[in-house]
């Protein structure tokens, strides 16, 4: 009887114990560089399409998602974002040529609309346009620039698409083209949702007239348009910057905790993508090998940089939410004597195709989108550091190349846009590379020599630190426990030696590194690196910032 009772207790305890500690800190396949979020069939995904008003209200007056100071939940063990249906590592992980960066997602270097037909009206958005189909039936969206600002929205779209693609987001293909209005052929099957009554009807010539009445016309009578290729698959609406889709089994990480969405704030600041919100995203259900899965797109860059799509961007954009209590009440109470700082920004006299964009007053840390974004609100220094490293990899030549792709007719516009984006890049990199200890690329040789680099120093936004402080430790992967090894050490150069005997003590070791720099208090926030012994020696298996 007593024996039985002891067995019961022992087995129950064993079960409980295995339940908690069964998961090691690092799995054999860590670090994972591809998240297989196409694993489960998602063919039952429906359409989740938010409206402007709803998205504004719930994000402005509510608090969507979980606001928590917690590490991004989709990063791999080395603090990077694996490839997924959301993101593909490009410039952040591999060398890209200028040509590759400039080319972006485009399959065609030049697009001709010969033989195309107008196949429908445009369904959403403020930018006037319509749909066309090429001879193979592929659908495209055609959009025009406002008469007051020729080349404004189309330039922003081209530039934004190339940048966001090189960063790693999924974007649709866009191209510039010229349209001869008189040569347009309307398909007999073309329909439009009547702007006056919302009912679908046949598209008529005067519908196109009303589009071109709101379009910038070239001296030769033609119109410059942006041509956006419809993404493959079935539309499933937009994604949100919070929660997960309840109908998508592969969507298991709350969006406000996805690093590429949190850190989109950094890219948004750089490129003034104040329209970073759910309704400017796109979910497409793709099918392959008998399974369906959702690909998530960043969508619609016509209102970034200095563009407000149909006008030069507002002065407020990027500086203040549409509705922000404190400045509003202050303005009211003081009869307008309180002046919001952004009202005093002096925008230079530049070609109308630029709109309203500058770099002098730009402060990356205080940049804001149109209204609160739950993922942006959760962005931590480690998320921002990840993004700033990506931004730092865009060379001046790449930026110039992307801007030239917009084909501004005034060379001053190209020069100005390039110069502003370079200046804003430098500010973004300086602001966010220095908030954490910027030690990167650690390597541990079999002889115990640790070498590393400093992202901020390499990017030219900081000088060498006064010193690096290191503390080595043994690591038990099964129990996730660390045991200090040796005394704390300090070095000036980015190189150090592991304590004698440490590397022989097991298959996991680690080191915590911080730095002291008079200008950058954030460098004292330590970074921790874990190494695992493999057949090729010690390999980096974990990073914490």
């Amino acid at each position: 009887m007593r024996v039985t009772a002891v067995m019961v207790v022992a087995l129950a305890a064993a079960g409980a114990s295995m339940g908690w500690s069964a998961s090691p800190r690092f799995y054999p396949d860590d670090p994972v560089w591809a998240d297989d979020d196409r694993a489960i069939d998602a063919s039952k995904v429906g359409v989740i399409e938010d409206t402007n008003g709803y998205d504004f209200l719930v994000n402005t007056f509510g608090e969507q998602g979980e606001r928590r100071d917690v590490r991004a939940m989709n990063v791999n063990s080395v603090d990077e974002v694996p490839d997924s249906s959301w993101f593909t590592n490009r410039i952040g992980r591999r060398r890209m040529t200028v040509e590759e960066v400039v080319n972006g997602p485009d399959q065609l270097t030049r697009i001709s609309l010969d033989g195309w037909v107008v196949s429908g009206g445009k369904a959403t958005g403020v930018q006037p346009g319509f749909r066309m189909s090429d001879p193979k039936g592929q659908l495209y969206q055609i959009e025009v620039d406002p008469p007051s600002n020729p080349e404004l929205a189309s330039g922003a779209e081209i530039i934004g698409t190339a940048f966001y693609h090189a960063i790693g987001y999924h974007v649709v293909e866009v191209s510039l083209a010229d349209i001869d209005r008189k040569a347009l052929v309307i398909s007999e099957k073309a329909t439009i949702r009547d702007p006056l009554n919302g009912r679908r009807r046949q598209l008529r010539k005067y519908d196109l007239d009303s589009v071109f009445d709101q379009a910038a016309r070239r001296k030769d009578g033609r119109y410059r348009v942006i041509v956006s290729r419809f993404a493959p698959g079935r539309p499933a609406g937009n994604f949100r910057y919070y929660g997960t889709r309840p109908d998508d089994p592969n969507d298991i990480v709350s969006h406000e905790h996805r690093r590429e969405l949190r850190a989109a704030r950094v890219f948004g600041a750089w490129l003034n993508h104040d329209d970073s919100r759910g309704i400017n995203s796109l979910d497409m259900l793709e099918t392959a090998n008998g399974k369906a899965w959702v690909r998530h797109y960043m969508f619609d860059f016509g209102s970034i940089l200095g563009s407000g799509t149909v006008y030069a961007q507002r002065h407020r954009a990027g500086n203040e939410y549409l509705f922000e209590q404190k400045p509003g009440w202050l303005t009211l109470a003081t009869l307008g004597l309180y002046v919001r700082p952004w009202m005093r920004i002096d925008y230079p006299d530049v070609p109308a195709s630029i709109g309203r964009l500058e770099s002098e007053a730009f402060d990356p840390l205080s940049w804001k989108p149109e209204y609160p974004n739950p993922a942006f609100a959760n962005m931590r220094p480690d998320d921002a550091f990840w993004a700033a490293r990506i931004v730092s990899r865009f060379t001046n030549g790449m930026i110039r190349g992307i801007v030239e792709k917009a084909q501004y007719s005034d060379p001053r516009a190209t020069d100005y846009m390039t110069q502003v984006l370079i200046a804003r890049r430098d500010k973004v990199v300086a602001a966010w590379l220095n908030q954490v200890c910027p030690v990167i690329d650690p390597s541990l040789a079999v002889n115990g020599t640790l070498t590393f680099a400093n992202a901020a120093v390499d990017a030219g936004v900081a000088t060498m630190p006064d010193e690096y402080s290191l503390q080595w430790f043994r690591f038990d992967n099964a129990t996730n426990t660390r045991t200090p090894a040796g005394d704390p050490a300090s070095v000036r150069a980015p190189s150090a030696q592991a304590p004698a005997g440490l590397l022989a003590s097991g298959s996991f070791v680690g080191v915590t590194v911080s730095a002291r720099h008079a200008m950058h208090a954030g460098w004292a926030r330590p970074a921790t690196f874990f190494f695992r012994l493999g057949s090729a020696g010690w390999g980096l298996v974990g990073v914490e910032r």
Binding site: G19, A22, S23, V32, A39, L57, N250, F323, T331, L335
Partner: protein, 403 residues
């Protein structure tokens, strides 16, 4: 007891074996397990009440209020009419989007009533030509009248009824995009009678007939006019630019022949924006004068009036009336939030019996503050509180802007 222990053992062993089976060996396995768990719980997305309401508002409701075909006619018929509601029918893409037709009828909370049919071609000949024609009836039963001239007394408030049928047309030409030059012709048949506001005495009970020219007589008018309009406001709910209109009209009495007169109106509005256009100083100067031939009279109901939500906001509607009038208005507007401006204002003006008195001496004035809910195109809704006049305080809650 032994059976209980056996059962516990069985459960424990079972849970251990289950845990062992589920423990992933790799990160990929771990993630896949989480996805398989979610796959067992996937459900269609169900939008909440607010989401459904907003979707309805953006996708459908806009086409109810601003709908093509039959639509609800809502708003004001004239200053002081109260809120009006009715029904209309419109077709705004006639002749391949070149013209629009609108017919409506509406009654107000103060029992004002109107009906109108209008056919407009706003942008013919490559946006250079405007053509418009209309036919209408307006029945305003409770129009205030305080007497003519600058000395009208608030205590002399009376009312009259005015019903007018009219039909006409106008044409305008745009030599440049921001200027419209044109003219029109209109036939009007106003009928004036006793007011129907039971709380207010009738005009004829307060004033002698000679103090109210045109009251009691019926006359039909052929009105012909010429106008010039310059509009370079940016945007239309102006942060900068100006709007000017000059109008000359001849009223030809086609019945008794007693009430022939000419009316000259000028209205100049200038807007000065600063601090990114989030502060605006708006100025307005409007003047109106008239002439009659010897022996002719100008009917009181065609004379310009001051007072009310869009002129002298410290006074009641139609508080002052005369053959000549001048009005100045100044507003300082500042944006509180995008879509909401506050304003402080000052109005000054007067009516005059003689043109020689049309100057800036002895102006009636008021000041006040207000709030404007707006878009770039227009002020949607406005609250203005007027103070500082000899008539006390006035609060106006109105659809639309002031100038």
């Amino acid at each position: 007891m032994i059976r209980l222990a056996g059962l516990t053992l069985l459960i424990s062993v079972s849970s251990v074996s289950s845990a062992l089976a589920q423990d992933p060996d790799t990160r990929a396995d771990a993630d896949r397990q989480r996805r398989e768990e979610k796959a067992r719980e996937v459900r269609s997305y169900e939008p909440g009440g607010l989401e459904r309401a907003m979707a309805f508002a953006e996708d459908k409701a806009i086409f109810i209020v601003d709908r093509e075909g039959f639509y609800p006619k809502l708003g004001s018929l004239t200053t002081g009419s109260g809120f009006a509601y009715g029904i209309g029918f419109r077709d705004r893409d006639l002749f391949e989007n070149k013209g629009s037709f609108d017919i409506w009828t509406a009654g107000s909370t103060r029992r004002y009533w109107a009906a109108e049919a209008r056919l407009t071609f706003p942008e013919l000949l490559g946006r250079r030509l405007l053509l418009e024609t209309w036919v209408s009836r307006r029945d305003y039963p409770k129009e205030n009248f305080y007497g003519l001239g600058p000395d009208a007394d608030r205590d002399d408030r009376s009312d009259y009824a005015l019903r007018t049928d009219f039909f006409g047309g106008r044409a305008g030409f745009r030599p440049i995009s921001f200027a419209l030059v044109g003219g029109g012709v209109e036939y009007q048949t106003p009928v004036v009678g006793s007011g129907r506001d039971e709380g207010v005495p009738n005009v004829e009970d307060v004033f002698e007939p000679e103090d109210v020219p045109g009251f009691g007589d019926s006359a039909n008018f052929l009105r012909t006019n010429l106008f010039v309009e310059i509009d370079y406001r940016k945007p239309k709910n102006a942060r900068q630019g100006g709007w000017y209109r000059f109008d000359f009209a001849n009223y030809d009495d086609r019945s008794a022949g007693l009430y022939n007169f000419n009316l000259y109106d000028a209205d100049v509005r200038q807007f000065f924006g600063f601090l990114a256009g989030r502060r605006v100083v708006a100025l307005r100067l409007a003047a109106s004068t008239s002439t009659t031939d010897d022996g002719d009279l100008m009917p009181f109901y065609y004379m310009r009036t001051l007072g009310g939500n869009d002129t002298l906001r410290g006074f009641r509607e139609y508080r002052f009336r005369g053959p000549h009038a001048i009005l100045t208005q100044a507003e300082y507007r500042w944006e509180i939030w995008s879509g909401l401006d506050a304003a402080v204002f000052y109005d000054a003006g007067k009516v005059a019996d003689r043109r020689a008195d049309l100057n800036f001496a002895d102006l009636e004035s008021d000041y006040g503050f207000g709030f404007r809910f707006n878009t770039d195109s227009a002020i949607i809704f406005r609250v203005d509180a007027g103070f500082g006049s000899r008539d006390g305080k006035h609060l106006y809650i109105v659809w639309g802007g002031v100038f």
